[in-house]
Each structure stands twice: as C-alpha cells, then as structure tokens.
C-alpha cells in the first residue's frame, strides 16, 4: 500500500495535531472497472469501513470547534446541495442556458476551506463556481439571477454559470479555461505580498487542470517567490468524461508539489473538518512564513461534468460507493453523535436552505433581463 506524499512530508501537521486529515490514498482510489482487484460487491463494504474511520477523526475535530461555526458549516453545505439540485431542475426547464457545472458531492471542500478564511482573503476558482460564490458571501439570489441571465445577477447577466464575481467579497471569479485561474490566483497572491496586505489567496481548480502547463508554471513561481497562496486541487476524479487514471501518468497530485519543494497534503474531501484543518495549516504557512501550499482534496462529482453530460463512462456502483459516505451525511452523523446539533436543528437548517433556494429562484424569475444598452458597457474601463 503506497504511502501518501503527505504522510511522508515533514510540513504536514496532521500527525501532530491528530486531526487525521490524511486519508489512505489506496482506499481513496477509484476501483478499476476492467480487470478489477476489488469486486463491485465489495465496494460498498469498503466505503463503510472508510466511513467509520473518518467518523472518529471528525468527532475529534468537532469537539474542538465552535458550535455556531459548525452549524454554519452544515448550513452552507446543505444550502449548496439544495441550490445545485434546483439548478439541475430549472436547467432542464430551460431557465438556465449554456454550460452549467454542478458541485453536488464536493460541498465539504468549499465550505471546509473557505470558512477558515477572513473576509478580506481572496478566492478564485474554476467554472464550477456557484457554491464557492455563495460561501464567499454573494447572495444566492444574485447567483441564481446570474444563472438566469438577469440584470440582478452578480455580474449583470454577462457571465452566467461559469463567471460569478464580486469585488466587494474578494471573489475573483469563476473562470472557464481549465487551469487559467491558477496563474491568475498566483498573481493575486503576488499583489498581496507586494502590498503587504496580509491577505491569503485560495485558488481552486480541478484535477484535470494539473495536466495543464499553467499549473506547473504557477507552482514554480509561487514557491520561488514565496507567495501566500493555497492551491486547492479539487480532485473529483473525472476531467469531463476522462477518469484520472486515463489522463495522468502519476496520479499522486499532492506529491507533484514536491517537484517545487512546496508543502503539500492529501485530504479527504468527504470530511469537512479535515478540509478545514488542512486549510488552517496552510493559512498559517501563508501568513506566518509567506509560503504556498498545495492541497489535493479528494471528492467525487455525483453529477455529470455539466448538465449536458449523461455520465456513460462510469457505473452506478461507483457513484453509490461515494454516496455511502456523502460529506453531508457524514458531517450530520458526527454532529449528532457529538450532541452539537439535534434533529430539530437539522430540520431548521434543511428548511432554511430550501426556503433560501426558493427565494433565489423567485428573485431570479422576477429580475428583469439586462437592458440592451448593457451589451456595450464594461468593454473598456
């Protein structure tokens, strides 16, 4: 069983603080469908074991965390889930056009990492950006109206699903060119260091972006120039329809940072507390030592790449394996066991998330289309 880069790396603090954020890479790997070593009947059993292991460490972390924050984390995760489910529904009704990439299954990554930030910290991400935008503070109304191409959208209907932005919330956008934002995020961190602002930059991208040149160019510069940036590779295991194993010769993404002598960790993206702990360690590194970190956070995309993707490249069993240890279910079970939240709390959170999503839909429906004059504005400053 290969050890992870993170367990070998002296910069990872997980062993020290006992948060257990470093998952076993072997058990996290997708099962090969052809010539598999593990039968599909064993998949769910394997997932259950992993789930139990995860529960223990999550409970430990929960005990050390403020109750209000825990509630907010769960709320943001549930809101992200309900919001995206609605997006799928209204997309099918033709209310959302163009590309629409959903975040279902990956909520623990955005919530775990971004709720560790200060409001002035900067965030940039890929086109799978609805949930990041909301966690950073853009209202669900403005995100949904943007999806609807309405003037009430966060960028006045000019960007759509892939391009949520808010200068006020230091949200530097969803970006549509795979990997492009890794370089831009590096530049944001460069500016923070130049100005001495103390801001941290969180830069999200998918695992497929790791094969782009910009990933390697960026990590090289970030370590060379000691930039306060946290690269979060959201490994959802598929670049569109191509599995990671069909696209990447060396699949240990965290370890790729070793090529740049950059601190790195592998994190279980189904465990929101593990994501939070790893992000906090990276924030410390960025703020105290002005050093970058690469976090590979393994999750699983339940839905297709975008709404136009039927997902014929994987089995139902594979999806079921991951749903067995769904990040929201896992977190709820832990919160319950730790007696932090009651069933009543869960109901209230669920109700709030559903109502907020409904309000967003209503706002988006009622928001006017952009005035034709908007076509020609914002081309030049």
């Amino acid at each position: 069983m290969p050890k992870t880069a993170a367990t070998k790396k002296k910069t990872t603090a997980s062993a020290k603080n006992g948060s257990g954020s470093v998952a076993s890479r072997a058990s996290g790997n997708p099962v090969k469908r052809n010539g598999t070593q593990v039968s599909e009947a064993d998949i769910v059993e394997l997932a259950k074991n992993e789930y139990q292991k995860r529960r223990k460490s999550q409970l430990e972390a929960i005990k050390k965390t403020d109750k209000k924050l825990l509630r907010e984390m769960l709320y943001q995760m549930v809101l992200g889930r309900r919001f995206e489910e609605k997006c799928a529904e209204v997309y099918r009704m033709g209310k959302i056009g163009g590309f629409c990439h959903l975040y279902i299954g990956q909520e623990a990554i955005a919530v775990g990492s971004m709720l560790a930030l200060k409001p002035e910290d900067m965030v940039i991400t890929s086109y799978r950006d609805h949930v990041q935008a909301m966690v950073k503070g853009i209202s669900p109304e403005a995100v949904m109206a943007e999806l609807y191409g309405k003037i009430g959208g966060c960028v006045k209907g000019k960007g759509g699903s892939m391009h949520m932005f808010s200068a006020e919330h230091e949200f530097f956008g969803g970006h549509g060119i795979v990997g492009g934002q890794i370089g831009v995020g590096t530049g944001m961190a460069y500016a923070a260091k130049y100005k001495g602002s103390g801001q941290v930059t969180l830069c999200f991208f998918g695992e497929a972006a790791v094969n782009q040149g910009i990933f390697h160019e960026s990590l090289n510069m970030a370590q060379l120039w000691k930039l306060p940036v946290i690269y979060i590779c959201e490994n959802n295991q598929y670049g569109m329809g191509t599995s990671q194993e069909r696209a990447m010769s060396s699949r240990n993404i965290a370890k790729k940072a070793d090529a740049f002598e950059m601190a790195n960790e592998f994190v279980d993206g189904m465990d929101v507390m593990a994501v939070r702990d790893a992000t906090n360690r990276a924030i410390d590194r960025a703020t105290k030592d002005s050093l970058p970190t690469l976090l590979e956070i393994r999750a699983y995309r339940y839905m297709g790449h975008s709404m136009s993707d039927p997902g014929n490249y994987r089995t139902r069993e594979e999806i079921a394996k991951y749903q067995e240890r769904d990040p929201i279910v896992l977190f709820k079970d832990s919160l319950k066991e730790a007696k932090v939240l009651s069933d009543k709390d869960f109901e209230a959170i669920e109700k709030d998330a559903v109502e907020t999503t409904e309000r967003a839909l209503k706002f988006a429906d009622e928001s006017p289309l952009p005035d034709p004059s908007e076509l020609l504005t914002d081309v030049y400053a």
Binding site: A167, F172, M188, E217, M221, D378, Y380
Partner: protein
C-alpha cells in the same frame, strides 16, 4: 527637448512611471539583472531593486497570468515579452483573461496592465521570431493596441498606456530601438491613446503607416515629391485600437487616394480593416482603389535577400503610390 533613441525614450517612460506610482512594476525575462534583452529596462533594477523590476523564469504563460492577477488585485504591472512572438504562449491570459475580465465581471474587475516588447521582424531571425501580431490582438474587444514610431510617441504613449485602466498591447520594433528623435522632458508628457498623428502633410495621396513602415513611408513621400512633384500625406494612427479613423478619413477626403503600408501579413490585417472603414466612410471620395503593401504570405525567411523580399520597403511603397496616382 532632449534627443533620445526610442530605446531610451521607453526607458525614461518606465522610470518616470515607476517613480510616480508605487503600484507600477516591471516584470519579464532578463528585465532586471541583465538590463533587458534589448536594454529597454537598462539601469532600472539597479535603481529600484527587486520589488519594482522583476526577473522571471522563462514561463510566458505563467508571468502573464501573474500580471493579470496582480492587476485585478490593484497593481499596475508592465509585463515585458522579450519579443511578441513569445506572447503566443501567453495568449490565453491576454485574450481569455485580461481582455474579457472587465466585461465578464460585470464591470467589477479592471485589468490595468501593459504587455510590451518588440513586434515584427528583426535582422534575419527567421520564421519563429518575426511575427507581427497586432491584427490578432486588435481583434479582441477589451484590449488596446499601441504601436509607436518615434521616440516622443514611444515615451508619451507608454506613459499613457501605464496610466490606462485597460490591458494595453504595446508593440515596439527591434529595428527601430536606435532611431533618434526629440522628446519632451515634462514628466507628465502624455500622448493620449486613440489619436493619430500626421507625420507629413500632403495633398495628393495619403499613406497610412505604422511602426516600421512610418519612416519608410516618409522616405517614399520625399522621393515622390522630388521625382513626380506629387504631395503625399503620411498618417500614423499610433494606436491601432482604438483607431482614430476620423483623421484617416479626413485625409482621404482631401487627397482622394490611399495607400496602406504595414509590416504584417495581408490576410485579415489591420490594413484590411482600415481599407474597409475608409470605404464605408469615404467611398465617394476615392479616385482609385485602395492599395496595400504588406508582408509576403509566407513564414519569414532567414536568407537576407529573401527576408528583404518578404518585407515592405521604400520602393514597394513608391510603386503603390504611383499606382493609385496613375503615374
């Protein structure tokens, strides 16, 4: 006024803007310790140090991206491409990111950045080092494209570009770095973007030239004056985008004849755009079809004679003027 080379005029513009605004910094390959591959940044690193003048690895896409992100976060980067040929590696950041950012963020994120360096041919540097890319960049809304042809223009336009809140493509020409001219010494000497300059007044034919073809067009005009007593007006748009089409159209309304001289492949070139716009605005004023002198439709060859054949020169421009003047 001081007499400076274009190289030194650019250097002065950079120095003054670094002094003027603490958010201005210069970044690129060999710009600092090496003093610049073409010495445009000579002395700046010694004077201002590592923070303001930054050597990068050979990583064009990477440092262009750093510039875009830094500009979004409030700085005013001047990114040097050793030559514009290498910008093609970085074109994703220029086209998909810098150019589109303001629009797709609904007006929230400006990208005040200058990308600069030499464009077009040099001296026998062959097919991968001789590209003239202004038509490509001018095609994208959101970008401004600037091409100076004199020392004063180089300084005034670079300062204006650095102070501009948009991404600016600033294209120099290696063959022209040593050209001298008078340059105002005022630290706030600015030439606004989007204003053409009449480099030589005339009444019988208009030549629109830019960058390297401006001095060639002026030479051609002098020869034609002497040989045929034909008065040629030479207009340098200086900024390709936004294009000051009014100055060109007004000239054509006076001369009724137009030659466009450009160091650029003809197909879908800036000259093609100017020809269309003149046709659209001054069709009835034209006494002859518009003639265009461009670079040959080949990759640029190495051999000295072939390279010369491929590029515009004084004789080719004279021949074109004679043709539109029916001489």
């Amino acid at each position: 006024m001081a007499v400076l080379t274009i190289r030194d005029a650019l250097n002065q513009a950079l120095r003054e803007e670094i002094l003027r605004d603490e958010n201005v910094f210069v970044m690129g390959e060999e710009v600092a310790e090496y003093d610049g591959a073409y010495k445009v940044t000579r002395g700046l690193w010694k004077e201002f140090g590592d923070k303001r003048v930054v050597d990068t690895p050979i990583t064009e896409l990477g440092f262009a991206a750093v510039g875009v992100g830094a500009a979004m976060a409030g700085l005013r980067p001047v990114i040097e491409f050793m030559t514009w040929n290498f910008s093609v590696l970085a074109s994703d950041q220029i086209i998909n990111h810098a150019a589109a950012m303001l629009y797709m963020s609904g007006g929230q994120f400006k990208v005040p950045i200058v990308f600069r360096g030499p464009n077009g041919s040099a001296y026998q540097v062959s097919s991968q080092h001789s590209h003239a890319l202004e038509a490509m960049y001018a095609n994208f809304p959101g970008l401004k494209v600037v091409m100076p042809s004199t020392a004063a223009d180089a300084k005034g336009l670079l300062k204006a570009s650095i102070r501009d809140d948009n991404p600016v493509i600033f294209m120099e020409q290696e063959r022209m770095y040593g050209l001298k001219g008078e340059v105002p010494e005022d630290e706030d000497f600015i030439i606004p973007l989007g204003v053409a300059d009449v480099k030589r007044e005339g009444t019988d034919c208009t030549i629109v030239a830019r960058s390297m073809t401006v001095p060639l067009a002026i030479q051609a005009a002098e020869k034609i004056q002497q040989e045929f007593d034909v008065s040629v007006e030479v207009i340098d748009p200086r900024t390709i985008k936004p294009l000051d089409i009014d100055t060109i159209v007004n000239s054509v309304k006076k001369t009724n004849r137009l030659v466009i001289a450009e160091e650029s492949h003809a197909f879908a070139s800036v000259g093609a755009e100017i020809a269309y716009q003149v046709m659209d605005s001054a069709f009835d004023h034209l006494d002859a079809p518009i003639k265009r002198i461009s670079t040959a439709e080949t990759p640029i060859p190495y051999a000295k004679n072939l390279e010369a054949l491929a590029l515009p020169d004084v004789d080719k421009i004279i021949a074109a003027v004679k043709e539109v003047c029916y001489l």
